[in-house]
């Protein structure tokens, strides 16, 4: 188990503020955040590239805060993979074992095993310069995994790959992690990617960890406005709450909530239902008209104007045109209320 306690890092122009994080053994954690949130810096602190100003990093209860990177046994795969250009693929993978002065027969057998596990036999004698993005990634993973690190840090491992390969490699990463029962920390700025690979997600912004939890937990209860926006809750409004209803301009939404006064309301577009039955007069049902309808790959995105403008997603394949009248229902349990910061 990896435990980061009150880690503070100061790199002059960049600061990490009081980072607390726990990763269980065999868990796949994604650190998600916008560019400049400090994800890479955090990973570099864990890898030991920088010394922290205060706080501690524990691996299985052992304090490694003051150890050199070579003493930590933490694997690190940087964004550009940093494959050693002067060594062949096979020697790259063997590097960590050779550094441990392991006898060469043993090195060979571990390396061959890893090469076949990653299905890269055909490139093992090539130089890294001539590899494709996906091949480079496999080699970098193999190199980091041969030493059986207690934790593997992956810094945006999929960002250099093209869209189609990305999904495939995300699945592959997940498979490898299960296969070796490794503890992985995966940094990314793409929500989909984090959702594809991770058991749990930690969201970072401005050198701080804002929220940690499973995807479902974070989506259902984002802690602040930034997070709701980051998670693409496209319908966000300033509102006033009295504890049981929320007033957005002229529109009143029914929702039991613990807040009184100014709040921010976030409703995910996929949670707004289109009411087909004209007679439906349930809670939070609003009539309006279609302002625009955009056809996307798997759904139609409709901008509905009631008293407020709502982005609604329609997956039924029905066509909507500008000016059509439409009825939508906002289920109270899907409304997220955040205290105004």
């Amino acid at each position: 188990m990896i435990e980061i306690k009150n880690l503070i890092g100061n790199l002059g122009e960049f600061h990490l503020h009081d980072i607390n994080l726990k990763v269980n053994k065999g868990e796949y954690l994604a650190i998600l955040g916008p560019t400049g949130a400090g994800k890479t810096v955090l990973v570099e602190y864990i890898a030991g590239i920088y010394k922290s100003n205060s706080g501690s990093i524990l691996v299985d209860g052992e304090d490694i805060t003051h150890l050199y990177p070579e003493e930590r046994n933490i694997g690190y795969v940087p964004q550009d993979y940093a494959l050693f250009p002067n060594l062949t693929v096979k020697r790259n993978i063997a590097y960590g074992l050779e550094a441990r002065r392991m006898p060469s027969e043993q090195v060979n057998s571990i390396v061959s095993d890893m090469i076949s596990r990653l299905k890269i036999e055909y490139i093992q004698h090539r130089m890294p310069l001539n590899l494709s993005g996906g091949e480079k990634q496999r080699v970098a993973l193999g190199r980091a995994l041969t030493t059986e690190p207690k934790l593997l840090l992956l810094d945006e491992p999929l960002s250099a790959l093209d869209e189609n390969l990305r999904t495939e490699m995300a699945r592959e990463l997940r498979r490898i992690q299960r296969d070796v029962n490794g503890t992985f920390i995966h940094v990314c700025h793409n929500f989909e990617e984090a959702a594809d690979v991770a058991d749990r997600i930690a969201i970072m912004d401005d050198g701080k960890i804002i929220q940690t939890g499973t995807l479902k937990e974070i989506m259902e209860a984002p802690k602040n406005e930034f997070l709701a926006r980051f998670l693409k809750s496209q319908n966000m409004f300033d509102a006033v709450s009295d504890g049981s209803t929320i007033q957005i301009g002229q529109t009143a939404l029914v929702k039991e909530n613990p807040f009184k006064g100014d709040v921010v309301v976030a409703i995910r577009p996929e949670n707004i239902a289109i009411v087909e039955n004209e007679k439906d007069k349930g809670q939070n049902v609003f009539s309006g008209e279609v302002e625009s309808a955009k056809l996307k790959l798997y759904f139609t995105e409709i901008l509905v104007h009631t008293d407020i403008s709502l982005v609604v997603i329609c997956q039924t394949g029905r066509e909507y045109n500008k000016g059509d009248s439409i009825k939508v229902r906002i289920p109270p349990e899907k409304i997220v209320i955040i205290e105004k910061s």
Binding site: G48, P78, N86, Y95
Partner: protein, 305 residues
């Protein structure tokens, strides 16, 4: 990729035609003036123009070719021995300094870099006068008194110091550029895999930086060879000094009563012996040309494995 190859071709064509022109033109001048080096007339004439020493006959002894003059060989010997020492010191100090400047966050780092870069644009005479002032006053003067010998106007360490300044500055800029070009992530990953700092350098950074390091060493050496004003200002000429002024060790190494080659070029021209000066200049062009050629070949390889 092909664009890169194309521009490389243009660069090569330009480089070789320019270097070739310089070399061939110098060779032409040298060969077309060979007859003047074989005759004693020029030397005899200079006696009438200048009067710069008692043992004037030496000039006549080499009539028939400058390579028969012991002064030439001693000068070349002196320059080679001293520049090798200079290069060795520049390399031993410069590579770690360049590595540290490239890799670590050091307070005042940019000031150090500006200092060494500014040295490169200083005339040698300025460096020479700075060295004279530095070593003839203040704590360094006291130190010399304590040690019992003077740095200025000495072969060792005077010439080493004078040629070291620019040699170090040029070498270090090449080494720093080389280390800058090697991604520091390689070392970080190597260390995460269990290599200590030294092994990471030895197995990854050094092989990747090797060609740049060798290029820097050659650059430091050629820059030391090319030093003129700083050596002249700080050390002067030794040609006319009596043999008793030189140590046995210097005599043993065949470096006594000789001058730094580029200073010798100036001295010969100054004393009216232009042909001799030109012949020495040709030797410098020859050595410099070969060094630059080797440097270019190594640089063109990218990595030297």
């Amino acid at each position: 990729m092909s664009g890169e190859r194309h521009s490389r071709k243009i660069f090569n064509a330009f480089f070789y035609s320019f270097a070739g022109f310089l070399f061939l033109y110098s060779a032409y001048l040298f060969l077309s003036n060979l007859d003047q080096l074989f005759v004693t007339e020029a030397a005899v004439k200079t006696r009438e123009i200048t009067n710069w020493g008692e043992d004037r006959e030496i000039l006549n002894q080499f009539a028939g070719g400058f390579w028969k003059d012991p002064y030439f060989w001693k000068s070349l010997n002196l320059t080679l021995v001293i520049t090798l020492i200079t290069t060795l010191i520049a390399t031993l100090l410069g590579i770690p300094t360049a590595y540290a400047l490239s890799r670590y966050r050091i307070p005042g780092k940019s000031m150090v870099e500006i200092f060494f870069s500014s040295l490169m644009v200083m005339p040698g005479s300025v460096i020479g006068i700075c060295l004279i002032v530095m070593f003839n006053y203040g704590p360094l003067w006291d130190l010399q008194n304590l040690l019992g010998f003077k740095f200025a106007h000495s072969i060792f360490p005077g010439m080493v110091i004078a040629s070291l300044v620019l040699s170090f500055a040029f070498g270090m800029s090449a080494w720093k550029a080389t280390f800058d070009s090697v991604n520091p992530r390689f070392e970080q990953v190597a260390r995460s895999l269990g290599s200590n700092r030294w092994r990471a350098f030895k197995t990854i950074t050094f092989p990747l930086a090797k060609s740049g390091i060798v290029t820097g060493i050659i650059l430091a050496w050629t820059r030391a060879m090319a030093e003129f004003s700083a050596v002249l200002f700080f050390c002067g000429t030794f040609r006319e000094l009596p043999a008793s002024r030189f140590s046995d060790f210097t005599k043993f190494l065949q470096m006594d009563q000789a001058d730094w080659v580029s200073v010798a070029v100036w001295a010969q021209v100054e004393f009216g012996n232009i042909e001799y000066g030109f012949a020495l200049a040709f030797v410098l062009v020859f050595i410099g040309g070969i060094s630059v050629y080797v440097m270019h070949r190594i640089g063109a390889k990218g990595y030297v494995w």
